[in-house]
Point group: C2
């Protein structure tokens, strides 16, 4: 099957793509329309973001399964205290007035992003909010790396899992964006479900070696991930067996040999989440197709310094 | 005279203002509409920027008197080479298609801002472009710290100097923004001319001690500045003698005693250009009214960490 969107995620001679992680988490609040707008305004037209479903079946853009106290403020402006409620136990009406514009700087998570702007009144977007923006004429070149979060409490609930995929696919189809979207997940079984329900969208396989700790303040993907260490074959081969179009390894895991093998297999390689200059430079050296980053401006600048660009527009200007 | 705009530049109990330096130079290309939009979207509603006049009398927003090779690209996308032409020797038509969206990372200036996004097609704005934006209903809370650059080649040309002030004042008046604008300069004689032509706008006095070197890649203000070391009185007293409303010292120069003296004199104090965490924290400790910064998000976060906010909206949410 031909997937037209893959070109937008494919590098080339002097070309490495930049994908904005949750928008541009280093600069603007993550997974907000404000952050997506900033990223797009920087000329970074590939957006990575996370989708979770509410109790009443609304796909919303947020990373963790539970509302995170260091990110989410109530209508009085206070960060949530106590036990963090699960999004899947709440309705959209419970979420729509929460404020996700500012990190609690006293938290470990907040300290990780000291330059992130602090906004008042930034809301959790619905998937449909982003799709509606991207469907506008000025955004026809924008592509989505849509990560479906796999609920560790529902790994064996095939109906619930199929419902999440169905809701997401319906939104993407409703706005006519299937040719500009990649389905992206740590949960390879969920990606198989995506393939079944929406064969017109390619799939992207996230990996992280199990000895890497979860990033502070974030859900770890391990419960839903396949065991990649026992297969006896390389991860790019495993992704290819799944008929994957793109492999998205954690940047500390990936090796030159793996990138070479992915090339042989015709697999694209995008690395996550690459923020420090030395790491960015190393990924450029590996010749990956794309770099997922919280700091898109920084990656643009490192690419230029190494003689690379990140988009067709930049290729033309070169 | 009552200047309503001064309230927006005045700190208070738990309140220190944030002023975006040339927009947000650390994150977005300086002195561009794209950079101003980003700054405003962060909830930083005080904009500092620089105005120079073209040969045909158009006030444009750019810092140096000459087109800077490390910032300005021609229509073929190449940074300008060779001798840098003066803006005052060029017409607006010569400028309007130049691209100021990206720094040359090989230059000393470019290396100072490694996170600045790289844009294609960002133009030098006219002062009128910014004024037209700010005059819109959604921007009624935005205030301008309008720096008039003093041409060192024309320090004794009183006609030329009066013409620059007249052109700037005309634009601000045309859009009805005099009550939201501060006239800001290192050239105190030019500020006297501002007072004469536009007594309805308060004046803001930039200073930098002469032993501080010019920032790399930038015009130094020294030729136009008064000699502050010979007066035998404090700088805040000198600003008060000029009937200044605001004193804007270089952050390395200012002392607690000077801030206290400014308070006694009823003078506001805004410090430039404060970018590193330790320096931001020191300025917060001094209790200045406002911090001019290339990294508005970073300053927001340091303020919150110290129990401060930067705007009325933030005060209400506190």
């Amino acid at each position: 099957m031909h997937f037209p969107q893959l070109a937008a995620f494919t590098g080339g001679d002097g070309l490495i793509r930049v994908i904005g992680h949750r928008g541009a988490r280093g600069i603007m609040p993550e997974n907000t329309m404000e952050g997506f707008a900033f990223t797009l305004n920087c000329g970074v037209r590939l957006l990575e973001f996370d989708v979770v479903m509410t109790r009443d079946g609304v796909p919303v853009i947020t990373h963790n399964h539970s509302l995170t106290g260091s990110i989410v403020r109530d209508q009085a402006g206070n960060w949530l205290q106590g036990e963090e409620p699960k999004v899947s136990d709440l309705d959209w009406a419970d979420l729509e007035n929460l404020d996700v514009g500012g990190l609690d700087g006293r938290s470990d998570y907040g300290r990780r992003f000291p330059d992130q702007a602090f906004l008042y009144g930034a809301r959790i977007p619905r998937l449909s909010d982003l799709c509606e923006l991207i469907a506008q004429p000025d955004y026809q070149d924008v592509h989505l790396m849509l990560e479906i979060k796999s609920d560790p409490d529902k790994l064996k609930n095939t109906t619930a899992r199929a419902d999440v995929v169905a809701a997401v696919v319906a939104e993407v189809r409703a706005l006519g964006l299937t040719q500009r979207t990649l389905m992206h997940s740590f949960d390879w079984t969920l990606l198989a479900e995506c393939k079944k329900q929406a064969p017109e969208m390619p799939t992207s396989y996230l990996t992280q070696l199990p000895d890497n700790a979860a990033d502070i303040g974030e859900d770890h993907a391990a419960p839903a991930s396949p065991d990649l260490t026992k297969a006896g074959v390389s991860v790019p081969d495993l992704v290819t067996r799944e008929a994957g179009a793109l492999w998205c390894p954690y940047y500390l895991d990936v090796t030159a040999a793996q990138v070479a093998r992915a090339r042989e297999l015709g697999l694209r390689v995008a690395v996550w989440t690459v923020n420090e200059v030395a790491d960015i430079d190393r990924m450029i050296g590996l010749g990956v197709d794309a770099i997922v980053t919280d700091y898109p401006g920084r990656v643009q600048r490192r690419l230029l310094a190494q003689g690379f660009v990140w988009s067709e527009q930049a290729v033309l200007a070169r």
